[in-house]
């Protein structure tokens, strides 16, 4: 990359199933204002804005960034609207970083939001398409067969999904911004929760949240001017493959593998499990933790569940995964990816509060979308690349 980019500050809203106290603009600004304060800058210091969110049908507004221009501080400035399905929050950060890395802008604001309470995501994702067999049942119905295939292929014990749910929800209880905060959740209570999309149980699924996230990115000069630690962007990657094709591996998609390989190469990481201190991975259904551990190269194919089972992905484990509570605790769809990227930055900035991983220097943020076909990733570090 031509220039270095760094996360100067991050912000996120309080997340809830229904944020009835704010408009869409107010929701975005709650995150933006916090990110600006965290970065020690004002809206006037921002050169460009990148907005990400998932389908417009969720809020019933076509290209809502048009009406949000004033609230985003974008009026008179460049404003890009990214939409790469569920990975969009990650793509938003990657595009914002590229604007800095290409030397085009000094400070860029990345914002992502979803106000799911304006409609109903299950409805928006399952509007019956003519001529198609109407068996589709939202994201859970889509991914459940993949989970079943993973369990079969990896020979994973049935309780792994519940273990992930317990860990992420307990982590979420340490995160004051999390939507679901369940410090008392247990393996037994997860396993006793209703089976929604067999083999996925209720407590193994993400909530539906209203929320927003924002990140201020800056170049080296801006990073030097920042009041606190910055998170340097060491690598970014995005990869795509078609939703379905003959012989497609939907359990361990090649686009994810190649995105990760490109990411590690760019970041100079040869042994991710050893060199990465913390990972914020997009896990909307608990079984995706072991699946993505394998896809990202933290474990060999079929072995990811062993890391989970051994407790290695817990806060004190070898690779803490989703110390923030992850998507399982908070899921404003379009913002969920940016939350992962922001939480990764907060960890290496040492600003993660009660869910801080001790001594985190290198962190990965991950998002995926569509039918496990769009991947966006970044590695951020406490150290300036090259130092």
């Amino acid at each position: 990359m031509a220039q270095l980019a760094a996360v100067l500050g991050t912000g996120q809203t309080h997340h809830a199933a229904k944020r009835l106290d704010v408009s869409m603009a107010g929701l975005c600004r709650e995150a933006v204002d916090r990110a600006l304060i965290d970065a020690g800058v004002e809206l006037a210091d921002i050169d460009a804005i990148v907005l990400g969110k998932a389908p417009d049908l969720f809020e019933g507004v076509m290209m809502p960034e048009l009406h949000l221009a004033d609230a985003l501080g974008a009026t008179g400035k460049p404003l890009l609207r990214v939409h790469t399905a569920g990975s969009v929050g990650g793509s938003t950060a990657v595009v914002a970083a590229s604007l800095v890395q290409a030397g085009i802008h000094r400070r860029v604001l990345a914002v992502a939001f979803e106000k799911q309470s304006e409609s109903n995501a299950m409805w928006a994702l399952s509007v019956p398409t003519p001529f198609v067999m109407p068996v589709h049942a939202g994201a859970g119905g889509y991914f459940a067969p993949h989970v079943r295939a993973y369990i079969r292929r990896a020979g994973a014990p049935e309780h792994i999904g519940a273990l992930v749910a317990v860990k992420d929800r307990r982590n979420g209880a340490r995160n004051p911004h999390a939507h679901l905060r369940q410090p008392d959740i247990t393996l037994e209570s997860v396993q006793a929760s209703p089976m929604l999309w067999d083999p996925i149980r209720y407590d193994e699924t993400c909530p539906s949240s209203d929320g927003a996230a924002a990140i201020v990115l800056g170049d080296e000069t801006a990073a030097r001017a920042a009041p606190g630690n910055v998170a340097w962007v060491h690598a970014t990657a995005m990869r795509t493959e078609p939703t379905s094709f003959a012989g497609r591996d939907q359990v361990n998609p090649r686009a994810g593998q190649e995105a990760a390989a490109a990411l590690w190469r760019q970041a100079g990481i040869t042994d991710p499990l050893r060199q990465v201190d913390v990972a914020e991975i997009y896990v909307p259904f608990s079984w995706f933790e072991p699946m993505w551990l394998e896809n990202l190269g933290f474990a060999e194919a079929g072995q990811g569940w062993k890391l989970t089972e051994a407790g290695e992905t817990e806060l004190a484990g070898r690779l803490p995964v989703n110390p923030s509570g992850g998507v399982l605790s908070t899921n404003p769809i379009g913002a969920s990816g940016l939350l992962r990227f922001a939480e990764a930055a907060r960890q290496v900035q040492g600003r993660a509060g009660a869910h801080q991983v001790e001594g985190a220097r290198t962190a990965v943020g991950h998002a995926y979308g569509g039918g496990s076909q769009f991947f966006a990733l970044w590695v951020v570090g406490a150290d300036r690349p090259g130092d």
């Binding site: 106290d21 408009s23 603009a25 009026t75 409609s119 409805w123 067999m133 109407p134 094709f245």
Partner: protein
């Protein structure tokens, strides 16, 4: 292919529930009681409709200012054939109206006898809805000063307006691709056909506009069997808005013999907990008089009773 592609109506209908926040909430709370509030901008301008954030400084705007419910037309246009959802059913004018005491313009409808009655500088006044609900439509429209409608009584409410409901109802013509249409015409005749890619030789059902791995149109048609293998599945227990099949049901990926990609369908005739990966199934068609251009002609798939397919035979189709 000699036929036009098939198409059907796709209706996107939802009543969106919008939370408002303090500024818009105050505006609609007042509007419900026949009062119009503006908000003062950073440059001193009074914005009506209220701006939540200043267009110049992006500051949140919260200083509410009451303005008049009559105003002046800054610009107008004529709607000779009103569209669904618009404020008036008979021809009317759209106008940018600067209310007395405001500095910006509100877009709304003006009830007028014809375009000849409209002009820039025209004075208009609010006509209030009979049944206020806490929405911009509580302001039914504007009307000419010389044709006032009797004002409905002002109601009082205990609770402020915090949210507003915004129905969206759009109708689309959804078209199948040429290849999918040909496939559906076969289904309508009780035939299951796929298309083979000339590059990778894989057989797709339903056929696609292009081979997803080679980006070329698919050309060769292949007749497929009615039997296949469940490669994976999910038991749907969750009910949701718009669902067309009563849960619980088994949504399975069915790989027809001769095809290289599974499609989603129902599996019945077996208890959900006994469905398994590798289960051999056969199509059960609906009565012929119910057939149309849809895979719903197949009511469901049911077990054939054959031994399960070995995992390796379908492992690459998970």
């Amino acid at each position: 292919m000699s036929h036009e592609p098939l198409s059907a109506e796709l209706r996107v209908e939802f009543a969106y529930t919008r939370s408002l926040g303090p500024t818009l909430g105050a505006f609609l709370t007042a509007l419900r009681e026949h009062r119009v509030l503006g908000v003062r901008g950073a440059d001193g301008r009074v914005h009506v409709p209220p701006a939540e954030y200043d267009p110049v400084t992006a500051e949140p705007l919260t200083e509410l200012v009451e303005v008049g419910s009559a105003g002046t037309v800054l610009s107008w246009t004529w709607q000779p054939e009103p569209l669904a959802g618009q404020p008036l059913a008979q021809p009317f004018a759209w106008a940018l109206i600067r209310l007395d005491g405001a500095d910006t313009a509100l877009l709304h409808a003006v009830a007028a006898p014809g375009p000849g009655a409209m002009s820039i500088g025209l004075r208009v006044r609010a006509r209030w809805a009979e049944e206020p609900v806490g929405a911009i439509t509580d302001l039914a429209c504007f009307e000419l000063l010389d044709s006032p409608t009797p004002e409905p009584p002002v109601r009082t409410f205990d609770e402020p307006v915090r949210g507003t409901v915004s129905p969206v109802d759009l109708r689309y013509r959804h078209s199948a691709s040429a290849a999918e249409s040909e496939f559906l015409r076969g289904v309508e005749q009780g035939r299951l056909t796929g298309q083979r890619c000339s590059v990778c030789t894989q057989v797709y059902i339903p056929p696609r506009g292009a081979c997803p791995t080679d980006g070329v149109p698919l050309t060769d048609w292949v007749e497929l069997a009615e039997e296949g293998t469940v490669t994976s599945f999910c038991v749907v227990n969750v009910p949701f808005l718009g669902q067309r099949i009563q849960p619980p049901y088994v949504a399975a990926s069915v790989l027809l013999d001769g095809a290289d990609i599974p499609f989603q369908h129902l599996v019945l005739g077996i208890a959900p907990e006994q469905v398994r990966m590798g289960l051999r199934v056969r199509a059960v068609w609906r009565p012929r008089d119910q057939w149309g251009h849809t895979l719903e002609n197949i009511d469901h798939f049911t077990p054939t009773g054959e031994p399960d397919a070995p995992f390796d035979s379908f492992a690459r189709h998970l």
